[in-house]
């Protein structure tokens, strides 16, 4: 006997945070109080406003090069959003394409593509990411490529399972029998059914991408200094952890909030999309 379902409202808080970060990313360049790249060594290590020695001028303090932390956080939002979205779009497209091809066509095509996907998934992903990043070199575009390469396989696996399920649905079988064109079947029947899963995966992957991007940057394999990327900021702040703790802490909080919101939203979407799913976490 299933539990009675209680209402599962849209998670306003996470959605709000994500929209806020996206808004910041959009208008970033126009609202930054200071140039994120510009610093004056005289102003280095000013603490945030709520600490002794802080000032209204630099609400989140300044870093070791005298740059305003708040401005860098805002600029970092833009980078994270761009990286997150493009990585998700790229891996999503590649993964879905592979999944639909493999799942729908079946047979040898399926076997080959799945072996490829399995191989991809059995490689230690961060290691591959680092190796790939090392090869391609630093930069936002390269970072996105690395993330896309790292991410498409899990889309492929899961969506292929969905395609296989959808393939056996009555109306799809009928469409195939009545000789509907392949494109029509894929677009009108298969795709809408996997869309739900795709959206959930994309939302969750968005959060993961941000963390991965910042991890790679932290290791020196993502964007390079002086780009104000959150992960890179944490890395740069590490040396000064005992004297200027806010340099590493604040960007980390940004990453945390963004990723947490994406995860919460993704979870809620997953619950909404699955009619059989009872209320859990």
């Amino acid at each position: 006997m299933t539990e009675m379902r209680s209402a599962d409202h849209v998670p306003r808080f996470p959605l709000g945070i994500l929209l806020f970060v996206m808004a910041i990313a959009l208008v970033g360049p126009w609202i930054v109080p200071f140039d994120p790249q510009d610093g004056n060594l005289v102003d280095q290590f000013i603490p945030p406003i709520w600490m002794k020695g802080g000032s209204m001028l630099h609400i989140c303090g300044t870093d070791h090069m005298g740059r305003d932390v708040l401005s860098r956080l805002i600029a970092g939002a833009r980078i994270s959003m761009i990286v997150g979205f493009t990585a998700v779009i790229f891996s999503g497209c590649v993964g879905t394409l592979v999944a639909i091809t493999a799942g729908y066509l079946g047979g040898a095509v399926d076997a080959i593509l799945m072996r490829l996907t399995d191989a991809m998934m059995s490689m230690p992903y961060l290691l591959i990411g680092v190796a790939l990043a090392g090869i391609l070199g630093p930069g936002i575009f390269n970072l996105v490529v690395v993330l896309a390469v790292m991410g498409w396989a899990s889309y492929a696996r899961i969506i292929r399972a969905e395609v296989l399920k959808v393939k056996t649905l009555d109306y799809v079988v009928i469409a195939r029998i009545t000789d509907c064109s392949l494109a029509r079947i894929l677009w009108r029947h298969i795709f809408p059914n996997i869309l739900n899963t795709l959206i959930v995966l994309a939302t969750l992957h968005f959060g993961t991408s941000i963390i991965l991007a910042s991890s790679l940057s932290f290791l020196g394999m993502g964007v390079s200094p002086p780009t104000p990327e959150w992960g890179l900021m944490v890395a740069e702040g590490r040396e000064h952890i005992s004297s200027a703790w806010w340099l590493s802490t604040l960007p980390g909080i940004c990453i945390l909030l963004t990723c947490l919101s994406a995860n919460l939203l993704g979870d809620w979407l997953r619950r909404r999309m699955d009619p059989k799913q009872r209320q859990r976490a």
Binding site: T2, E3, R115, L116, D118, A119, S122, M123, P124, Y125, L126, L127, I128, V130, A131, L132, A133, G134, I135, L136, G137, G207, I211, S214, S215, F218, L219, G220, M221, G231, V234, A235, G237, R238, I241, S242, W245, S248, T249, G252, I255, L256, C259, L260, A262, N263, L264, R278, R280, A281
Partner: protein, 305 residues
């Protein structure tokens, strides 16, 4: 079953060959080690010697063939930087990573599963609330930040734990926590949802209908059924720890494979990178196979013939 294992081993071989080829090619795509290791003033003759010694002058498929045949003789290549066999460099560092990985996985499974199960058996209680928040927060935090924050808290502010290096248990704690954090959250989440799913099933209801004592219901029936997905996660996480502790080892200057990998990529020491990827992938595949075998031992419905 035996036939299945052999079949899987065969598939593993194919996968490994594919992967080794892919990595081999990719690693050579850009960046020449000679630019990094030879001084810019090196003469053309010296460069030629360098290339010949390292076989870099050969066509790429020849290099690959040499590499593959070498492996079957136990020769995984030689580190360009150190001049020693990559395999021994690897195994020099591996024990440290293994130590850290074992510690982290023990920590994350025990705590994670405990919280997860308690969360499921006492829904709505304090542990449940804590567990859910913990699981969520844990999976949204980047490992490197957790590490740095832990260092900030325990080493810088409180001064109770060391910031880096190996040594006794004290040295294991922070890196272990950092590495295991995400995993702990994942285990909590999975144990909880797996347990909830199982506790809601008809056969558990049947156990209660039969009037079985609660400890049998939970620890005999529910636990065994809920353990299957957790087992899979265990395999995945352990291998991840073995190969993916790049960030943790970097932060804590832990002398393991992760640090070696980052270093090798920076310095374009191809053979080392190749060896690490190959061996780590092998580890992943082997662990996967083990997990599948254990699965079949637990679940009588799974028969591979």
């Amino acid at each position: 079953m035996i036939r299945y294992i052999f079949r899987r081993l065969g598939q593993m071989l194919i996968t490994l060959i594919l992967i080794s080829a892919a990595v081999f090619m990719l690693v050579r795509l850009t960046g020449n080690p000679e630019d990094l290791l030879l001084s810019p003033l090196a003469s053309e003759a010296e460069r030629l010697v360098f290339r010949t010694v390292w076989g870099l002058d050969q066509p790429i498929h020849m290099q690959y063939w040499k590499y593959i045949t070498g492996i079957f003789h136990g020769d995984f290549g030689t580190s360009i930087y150190w001049g020693e066999p990559t395999i021994s460099i690897f195994f020099e560092r591996f024990p440290a990573t293994l130590e850290l990985a074992t510690f982290a996985i023990t920590l994350s499974t025990t705590i994670g599963i405990a919280i997860g199960v308690l969360s499921a058996t006492h829904p709505g209680g304090k542990i449940d609330h804590f567990g859910r928040i913990f699981a969520l927060a844990g999976q949204s935090l980047p490992t490197f930040w957790v590490g740095i924050m832990l260092v900030l808290l325990f080493s810088v502010t409180l001064g109770v734990l060391p910031t880096s290096g190996t040594g006794g248990v004290a040295h294991l704690i922070l890196p272990g926590l950092t590495l295991g954090w995400y995993s702990m959250a994942a285990f909590t989440r999975l144990a909880r949802s797996s347990m909830l799913d199982v506790l809601d099933s008809e056969y558990i209801k049947m156990c209660r209908v039969k009037g079985l004592p609660e400890h049998l219901v939970v620890w005999k029936h529910a636990a065994k059924n809920a353990s299957l997905p957790v087992l899979t996660l265990f395999g995945l996480q352990f291998v991840h720890f073995l190969s993916g502790s790049l960030v943790t080892e970097t932060i804590f200057a832990w002398p393991g494979i992760g640090r070696l990998a980052v270093w090798a990529v920076y310095n374009r020491d191809y053979p080392v990178v190749q060896t690490i990827v190959l061996l780590m992938t092998t580890a992943y595949l082997v662990v996967n196979l083990l997990i599948d075998v254990i699965y079949a031992l637990i679940d009588p419905r799974i028969r591979y013939d």
